[in-house]
């Protein structure tokens, strides 16, 4: 994208004066000026190749006008472009006729029919009939490039979009042109499928029906589709997308080009997991346990049963006898309602949206923040988090592009290599549990020691150099590099970096869909909505909510331990399945069994909810409106497209009804009211009004908190900070999340690019111009923003975790366990989507060749891996990306999951390999 800050170039297009940006291509400048130049191969997010020749326009040069491809002729001062001359018409006509020469014209049975750029452009620009009477080129009809993507080579027009995408954007050149001339076909290497996590994008950007995706093939005709703009919540990147449905079934998701977030891309898991929403086994009615069995019940019966159980526990054991786990699947409004129910009505602070695989909320919320764009343009990026390719795939794409295209240096501080390792300028592979030691060495002075926690001096020196060169512009991607150690050391390392790296900012990288929103809304122990600490926010929130917990509660590990030990008696699971998700399966199972009373709110029955006493069916994705917050703190709106199955309810409604039955009133009639309350009370969200969120300029969402500048302007008539008047004028108050459906999205015009290019709202540039308004503090006579008399609490500041526990000595025969998630796993989204269910890889244990050698093992051998908790037999792989002394095992695959081995009570988990 052109750098909008630099000077401009004046050109004329069809006689119209157009302001263009240096380096911009004619096709893009013309499009912004409203002149659409037809094209097939051009894609604004990829290198131009100029292959299709559809974009030929007349450009005036020293020798008069000549036909030139608008997609790779850069604009130049004074350039004259004509897109309507007879020569241009003839060229467009000719190219289309030539494209159809070998095209099968099987439009009636083509998925693309009705939304096909080739079809459309033939209608608009093409000849009436073909003069081609010869035999066409023939290929075997669709072949599978992978289990997700099919290719009909007869329809292919050789635009290079899919192959370019695979190579340039995804970094997975697993498909390529094969052959030459008009025998070019796109194909894989024989028997090596196109198994890229991003393969679905090729289907979306294919300008004809050559590439089709299994989950959509023959499901619907484009003219039967309805759509709504939304945000993917499969992971925390929050890609913008269009959700499409036909007859109340989700049929397809398409990526929308959000400039600050996903650039139009989606990962395949996010793109195809809609199948799980459609699943026939969805929970559609409440269930209650009778005589040991879960049986259907009415909402009244089920809510009564849930309320009674919770009231009884509270009466007997006090509010601390209750805990709420989960909530990262919820919309912000739902999360807020549940936080209010838990912390105010039920009175417990033992609430945790993370299931022990994240970081303390203070570390996530309380460090200086960076956006994805800021990370991708930083002087250096330091990754101390999970394998982004597996857990936050589109963030991986963004960072990969930053390294490859913009040369941003990347340093990894991770225990084992991952998807980005090949792009890293320095990799610091630390021994599990010892991240902080390496961080200290990294920011320290003097020559580094020969070896720090497994990291050599050479790598450290290299990493230091990179950070030093970044001159105060370093972004740390902060997440949980491994769930097999406690993460204490990572939190401590974050504190060390915050202290020791000048100007450092952090981009949180927790993986669950709306975990960041859930934390913002207070679904974590020790915090209250709006990124404030329990103590600092006490006065403010007591006034807002009436009561709040006295003491900091327990996190997930604490909750499960207490339940297992009989100290905690009621568990509410909000779309959470600790039995398979908590990184210590044994503890999770004991905890679930130990809690006397379990309520589960979910969309599917899972290992944990099967043991619940009451199961409440929740509305799923695209079945309710609301907002969600991505890892940048960017608030965007999710649209509702279909109705929930059976009598399933949105989560906030469940919370409200349950509150009434346990003797409280959340006071919400709808999500609009909830958002208004969030905006009014949650300090981090002040000013992010519904009107702001529904403004077209906020199509990319709004990053919370609003920038200083914006926040000092008040919303007229309220005295509260917020967007300026011009911004508000732009959009009618449509009231929260039900919004007008955007214009149909044409895959050629790249959904959302317009909005993106008109400079969507970002954290720092919300308001175009502000003509009036004063800071709320100075405002007198106006209505006070918060509860009367209370001081707005200060934002959370991460002070560093308490001093971590000492590590046990690693005995010479053991390996220290490293574990993370794979994209395709045993989770509901994958397993309930038939197209994805078969994709999780077979679990294999990776270890350094040296360690395997020592044990007389090589790749492919089976071995028994044993920890204090469990043992099982698994195949090993020699992998030099796993440092000596460590063993890496995916967390969440069927059968041999690391979750069975991990002992959450200790700082690290050591395993032994026994030959079988």
């Amino acid at each position: 994208m052109a750098d909008l800050a630099t000077s401009t170039v004046a050109i004329t297009v069809d006689g119209k004066q157009v302001v263009a940006y240096p380096g911009e291509m004619v096709i893009a400048a013309a499009e912004r000026a409203g002149v659409y130049i037809p094209r097939f191969c051009y894609h604004p997010r990829m290198r131009p190749v100029g292959m299709c020749r559809m974009c030929l326009v007349d450009i005036k040069g020293p020798r008069g006008f000549s036909l030139q491809p608008a997609c790779f002729i850069p604009v130049a001062e004074g350039q004259e472009v004509c897109t309507t001359s007879a020569a241009v018409r003839k060229a467009q006509d000719g190219v289309l006729e030539l494209l159809l020469v070998n095209h099968p014209l099987d439009c009636p049975v083509c998925d693309k029919g009705g939304e096909c750029p080739l079809q459309d452009q033939t209608l608009t620009y093409g000849p009436g009939e073909s003069r081609f009477v010869e035999e066409k080129r023939h290929w075997e009809k669709p072949i599978a490039l992978s289990s997700l993507v099919y290719l009909d080579r007869e329809r292919c027009i050789q635009c290079d979009r899919c192959t370019r995408f695979a190579d340039e954007v995804a970094g997975d050149p697993l498909i390529d042109f094969v052959g030459r001339g008009d025998h070019i076909e796109v194909n894989t290497f024989p028997d090596l499928p196109f198994s890229s996590y991003f393969s679905g994008n090729t289907v979306q950007i294919c300008p004809v029906g050559a590439l089709t995706a299994t989950p959509y093939r023959f499901r619907a005709r484009p003219w039967d589709l309805e759509q709504v703009e939304s945000t993917c919540t499969t992971c925390a990147v929050g890609c913008r997308m269009a959700v499409q449905s036909s007859t109340n079934q989700l049929t397809r998701y398409l990526g929308i080009d959000s400039d600050p977030v996903n650039h139009g891309w989606l990962c395949d898991k996010g793109r195809f997991a809609f199948e799980a929403v459609n699943g026939v086994e969805r929970l559609s009615r409440p269930l209650v346990r009778r005589d040991g069995e879960l049986v259907p019940a009415s909402w009244g019966q089920a809510l009564d049963a849930a309320a009674k159980g919770l009231r009884d526990v509270r009466a007997l054991h006090g509010p601390d006898g209750i805990a709420v786990l989960g909530g990262a699947r919820l919309a912000n409004e739902d999360a807020y309602a549940w936080a209010k129910l838990a912390k105010s009505v039920l009175g417990t602070d033992s609430v945790d949206a993370q299931l022990g695989d994240g970081l303390p909320a203070e570390a996530v919320l309380g460090l200086p923040r960076a956006t994805i764009d800021q990370a991708c343009s930083a002087g250096a990026v330091l990754l101390m988090g999970p394998d982004l390719k597996e857990e936050l795939p589109v963030l991986y794409l963004r960072l990969r592009a930053a390294v490859v295209d913009s040369g941003i240096p990347l340093v990894e501080l991770v225990p084992a290599s991952g998807g980005l390792s090949g792009y890293a300028a320095a990799s610091l592979n630390y021994r599990p549990g010892e991240a902080a030691a390496v961080a200290r060495a990294l920011v320290g002075a003097g020559d580094p020691a020969d070896e720090v926690a497994g990291v050599g001096a050479q790598a450290l020196r290299q990493a230091r150099r990179v950070l030093a060169d970044a001159a105060g512009d370093v972004v740390v991607i902060l997440g949980r590099p491994s769930v097999a150690d406690s993460g204490e050391s990572v939190a401590e390392a974050a504190a060390v970096l915050a202290e020791g790296v000048p100007g450092v900012r952090f981009l949180a990288a927790l993986r669950r869909g709306n975990v960041h929103g859930a934390l913002d809304m207070g679904l974590a122990p020790g915090v209250l909505p709006g990124r404030v600490g329990l103590d600092e926010g006490r006065e403010w929130w007591s006034q807002a909510w009436g009561v709040i917990p006295e003491e900091r509660g327990l996190d997930a590990a604490g909750v499960l331990t207490a339940a297992a030990e009989g100290r905690l008696h009621a568990l509410v699971l909000l779309g959470a399945d600790p039995a398979s998700d908590f990184p210590d399966a044994e503890l999770a199972r004991h905890g679930l069994a130990g809690a006397g009373f379990v309520v589960a709110v979910d969309t599917y029955l899972n290992e944990s909810s099967r043991q619940a006493d009451v199961v409440l069916p929740a509305a799923g994705y695209a079945e309710r409106p609301g907002t969600t917050t991505n890892l940048e703190g960017r608030v965007t709106r999710m649209g509702q497209k279909v109705v929930p199955p059976g009598v399933a309810w949105p989560d906030w409604m469940i919370a409200s009804e349950l509150a009434l039955r346990v003797g409280g009133d959340l006071g919400f009639e709808g999500i609009e009211a909830i958002w208004d309350e969030i905006e009014r009370y949650a300090p981090s969200h002040a000013g992010i009004t519904r009107r702001l969120l529904t403004s077209p300029l906020a199509r990319d969402g709004v990053v919370a908190p609003l920038s200083e500048e914006t926040a000092t302007h008040t919303v007229p008539g309220t005295g509260r900070p917020g967007g300026g008047p011009e911004l508000l004028e732009l959009a009618p108050d449509t009231g929260g999340a039900t919004q007008p459906v955007p214009a149909p999205i044409d895959p050629m015009s790249d959904p959302g690019i317009d909005a993106a290019e008109s400079q969507g709202i970002s954290a720092t540039e919300v308001v175009p111009e502000v003509t009036s308004g004063v800071a709320p503090e100075q405002e007198e006579g106006e209505q006070e923003p918060g509860p009367s008399g209370a001081e707005r609490p200060p934002p959370l500041r991460f002070q560093g975790a308490g001093s971590p526990r000492g590590l046990p000595k690693l005995d010479g025969y053991a390996l220290r366990l490293v574990s993370g998630h794979t994209l395709y796993d045993q989770g509901v989204g994958v397993q309930r989507s038939p197209s994805l269910a078969g994709l999780p890889p077979a679990p294999r244990l990776r270890a350094n060749p040296y360690d395997l050698d020592r044990l007389g093992l090589t790749t492919g051998d089976s071995v028994r891996v044993r920890s204090g908790h469990a043992s099982f037999v698994i195949e090993v792989v020699a992998h030099s990306g796993v440092p000596r002394g460590s063993a890496a095992l995916p967390f969440n695959l069927e059968g041999q999951s690391a979750g069975e081995l991990i002992d959450a009570s200790g700082p690290v988990t050591d395993v032994r390999l026994e030959t079988v």
């Binding site: 020749r53 190219v95 030539l98 020469v101 070998n102 035999e135 030459r180 001339g181």
Partner: protein, 438 residues
């Protein structure tokens, strides 16, 4: 009558085993390199500039000017184009097989002049013997100390790699050649950037020159640019190799002085083409490789001057190949065969070239085999126009180019020329349902 001048690049071709280092040295080989290394680089460049040596690869761009256009950046690469695959062009083939050291020496001098520390000679893959001779020459030249570090103690060092092609005409295009040399499919690069001199191999400034161009360099260094420019005419300096092929008595590659000789000399001189075979009439000739517009007998007296052939003739001397068609030749068949070549060799990037070449080929094959329709003639012209807008007969040079590389606009010339000159022949094919030539 043909002017008699001492040959330059073919001077040694008839010698005994002229490809050996020994033979080359005994003819004073590498003396030019030794001399060049005592000159400042700019002076070598100036000498070549004065010679006004036009590139012999087809585009006819002055070599000296090309060198001086190099973007100032490190490193600089030199790539020598020995991919010769244009139909009926077979002069570089000879030079590679019979005088590889001359090419090596020219390459080394050029590398010195432009400041390249790494040079490549890209040899058409099919030239197995040529590759063996070229690799042997490079081996021997390293051994003799003329390639490598600190040549002749001058402080100049250069490495030279002989790189084989693998069968793709399009790799003769300089940007496709660079892609191929980078280990990729030979897709010509989009322009801008227009010249490899700005962005070439691995993105670095690069000079690409033809094998025959390189073969002239040692002579120019030894004898001076002015001596070279004294040959030929002002616009067409020096000598040039022409491959004379087709229906002549003595098909072969001949070096002649430019400007002062004519196509008639090439075809009829007894020491050159030796006249049309079997005493037949010359029907037409292709003056500059398959991509050029055809000439009729009335153009035989055009002098061998690229600027004239282009400006007055509306065609080009291009690759230096002259193909003679006699009155027994079916023009449709000859044109069809050339179109078929372009169809097979189109890289496949640009829609008009990829699809248009195939379409033209199919129509022409249909006509030639007697299944043509009257409307096919207009259709042929219109498809040609969709490949190279404005293409016409009589032809103009250069044809309009709306494709990535000039292969696209190379397809229409045989079609348009044959249609323009021998429309009747087409009509006979259509009417009689077959080829009148049997």
């Amino acid at each position: 009558m043909t002017t008699e001048v001492a040959p330059i690049v073919t001077r040694r071709l008839a010698a005994q085993e002229p490809w050996t280092l020994q033979s080359y040295l005994s003819d004073g080989g590498y003396g030019a390199l030794r001399k060049a290394l005592t000159m400042p680089r700019q002076e070598v460049m100036a000498e070549v500039d004065r010679a006004n040596l036009l590139g012999r690869g087809g585009a006819g761009f002055p070599a000296g000017r090309k060198w001086s256009m190099l973007r100032k950046a490190e490193p600089v690469y030199l790539v020598v184009n020995g991919d010769e695959s244009e139909p009926a062009t077979f002069k570089d083939h000879l030079l590679i097989e019979r005088d590889p050291h001359q090419i090596v020496e020219g390459t080394l001098i050029t590398a010195y002049a432009i400041g390249a520390a790494q040079a490549f000679i890209y040899v058409r893959g099919e030239f197995a013997l040529g590759l063996e001779r070229m690799i042997q020459a490079v081996e021997d030249a390293y051994g003799h100390g003329v390639i490598g570090a600190n040549i002749f103690g001058s402080g100049f060092s250069v490495d030279l790699v002989v790189h084989p092609g693998a069968g793709a005409y399009i790799c003769g295009d300089e940007t496709a050649l660079l892609e191929s040399l980078e280990g990729k499919r030979g897709f010509p690069r989009i322009k801008p950037p227009y010249y490899p001199a700005a962005i070439g191999l691995y993105g670095a400034p690069t000079v690409v020159n033809n094998v025959e161009t390189m073969s002239n360099i040692p002579w120019i260094v030894l004898n001076g640019g002015d001596a070279f420019a004294a040959l030929g005419t002002e616009t067409a300096t020096g000598t040039r190799m022409f491959a004379v092929a087709g229906r002549v008595n003595r098909p072969g590659a001949y070096e002649v002085e430019l400007g002062k000789n004519t196509f008639r000399d090439l075809v009829y001189d007894p020491k050159l083409g030796g006249g049309v075979r079997d005493g037949r009439e010359l029907k037409a000739f292709v003056p500059g490789g398959a991509s050029s517009f055809w000439f009729g007998p009335e153009r035989l007296d055009f002098s061998l001057d690229e600027s004239k052939v282009k400006g007055e003739g509306g065609s080009m001397m291009g690759s230096g190949s002259v193909i003679v068609l006699d009155d027994t030749t079916c023009a449709v068949r000859a044109a069809w065969r050339l179109v078929r070549f372009f169809h097979k060799e189109s890289c496949g990037q640009c829609t008009p070239c990829r699809e248009g070449s195939g379409w033209l080929e199919k129509i022409m094959r249909r006509i030639e085999s007697g299944h043509g329709r009257p409307q096919d003639l207009e259709l042929l012209m219109d498809v040609c126009d969709n490949i190279s807008p404005g293409v016409s007969w009589p032809s103009r040079w250069p044809p309009n180019m709306t494709t990535i590389c000039p292969l696209g606009p190379s397809i229409p010339p045989p079609v348009v020329s044959s249609l323009g000159m021998f429309r009747d022949e087409y009509l006979v094919h259509v009417k009689e349902g077959g080829c009148p030539f049997g």
